[in-house]
Symmetry: C2
């Protein structure tokens, strides 16, 4: 059953139905009235409402096992505004406060370890200060990692491909791309320029011609990166970060054996940020009464 | 009991003793004849001999649990020459062959994972090719990681401090140094120049004055790096490599809270290489009949 898209039209439509039918018949026809209300009709969203609204779009959600839990705050809290970002840094929290946004949706951990265990390092003063800062400002943080990667097409991948202008080369659910042949150097410079990176690290012959790309933004870990390389034999592996003693050494040796494989390291935060920018664009129309703003947590490094 | 240092003198000394005493009395006085021979008398060393000779200098060695095992070859193999390095790369193997050295002592894994499990990634073609290359050339590889760190002073740390000209600031067994006050930028440039690095990555205010340094070459992992930072509150943490989403984000937040802590990332291989250079110097006088050569596996990266 379809309803008019416009809110005013929708109200007239429902009013007309009420004139021509009894309330019970209407409810039977369209379900509870609440189901008729589109998100932009609803004045108050709780954190839980926003999460539900997002999760119904994710295949297989909710997951039994996931790191995508609340890291601070409360699912019942009324949302005043939403910020999407890669890392809920102290600076991002302060910017969210300025924006009067009390709900941060971040791709990566808040407390410096995968499960956000506050006792990962005992009596961590910075963890305590950050917990206090979040509490004082009533900020709820939700990690949105596993779910956004499980969306089809993968929300992070899709955001990165959009930003790189390479959407036409991607296939939903696949990390392999086939691009028109270009040199390793040109690919590195293309990412540097489209993702606005300060520097990239490269292993390979810059003049090598590349066509088959394994694009793995973020930190997949050495085992998954090397498995991708072994299974797919790409011309170049593009990653967010590596364990230097795993993936980088594998690539160095593969090249010494004459294999046509290279590595480009973009940096973790900057490699996935376009996916969280895309989340803000994707989410905004679903909650038009609330401002959804992407703020990049950005590259933490200076290069000397 | 001391013997003449010179080999010929020693032979005369033993011959004279044999003239004046029965063999049994001699053995009782000096122990088995083999114990009398100094390393430079001995024409043939096996890999096991070299390992024994090294391990008797390491407190608590041999360890029950260690990654410092043979990764190829045979403990009974006669050693023709020794190469020390950070990573047994394919290039290092080829250089060792040219040097007619069949024993490589390397600080880090050969097969791209901590325990050198060849099946870490199933049917890894590069692992197979490397195993074959080592076998064809009869190269024995020993990882020398845990033991060199357990030597006092820590062999890697000592090598790095020597290379940086900072030995006077180190204390055996400690990673904290107190240096004359200097700016973060000056420290970064000092390491870049003394360790001959292409680039370093930094988080911090370059003009910040630093005195207390936590020097952690290599890949300690986020938990140990952050623990060191929390416990010692250094002005700067200098590391080989980081998990960007752990240590780097911790430092970024600590700084946002006004803490006077910075991060310098040197690169893994180059941050510990001076320790393997020092191993060659340390080992050579103990096996003067055999050439011990350090060959740097070097920085795998180009920076664009």
């Amino acid at each position: 059953m379809e309803f008019p898209a416009n809110s005013l039209q929708r109200r007239i439509f429902i009013a007309n139905m009420l004139k021509t039918a009894g309330a019970a018949a209407l409810l039977s026809a369209v379900g509870p009235l609440e189901a008729c209300a589109s998100p932009d009709d609803k004045k108050d969203y709780t954190v839980q409402d926003i999460m539900d609204l997002i999760l119904k779009e994710i295949p297989g959600a909710p997951f039994k096992q996931t790191v995508d839990t609340l890291k601070s705050g409360d699912a019942a809290q009324k949302v005043t505004g939403i910020v999407t970002t890669m890392f809920t840094t102290v600076d991002i929290i302060r910017q969210a406060v300025k924006e009067k946004a009390n709900f941060i949706i971040a791709h990566e951990p808040t407390f410096y370890n995968h499960t956000d265990d506050p006792d990962w390092v005992a009596k961590n003063e910075i963890v305590k200060m950050k917990q206090d800062l979040l509490k004082e400002n009533n900020i709820t943080v939700w990690r949105f990692h596993d779910y956004w990667h499980a969306y089809r097409p993968d929300g992070i991948m899709d955001g990165v491909l959009k930003k790189a202008g390479w959407q036409q080369y991607g296939k939903s659910g696949e990390f392999m791309l086939t691009i028109p042949e270009m040199s390793l150097e040109k690919i590195a410079i293309h990412f540097k320029s489209s993702l606005k990176l300060q520097k990239v690290r490269v292993i390979g012959d810059l003049s090598q011609s590349c066509k088959r790309i394994a694009l793995l933004p973020g930190a997949w870990g050495g085992q998954r990166q090397v498995t991708a390389a072994e299974n797919e034999k790409p011309d170049v592996l593009i990653v967010g970060e590596v364990h230097e003693w795993e993936t980088a050494e594998y690539i160095r040796d593969a090249r010494a054996f004459g294999k046509n494989i290279s590595l480009i390291i973009l940096g973790h935060s900057v490699s996935e940020e376009p996916g969280m920018e895309w989340l803000a664009e994707w989410l905004q129309p679903k909650v038009s009464g609330i401002k959804v703003k992407h703020i990049a947590s950005g590259d933490p490094f200076k290069w000397l």
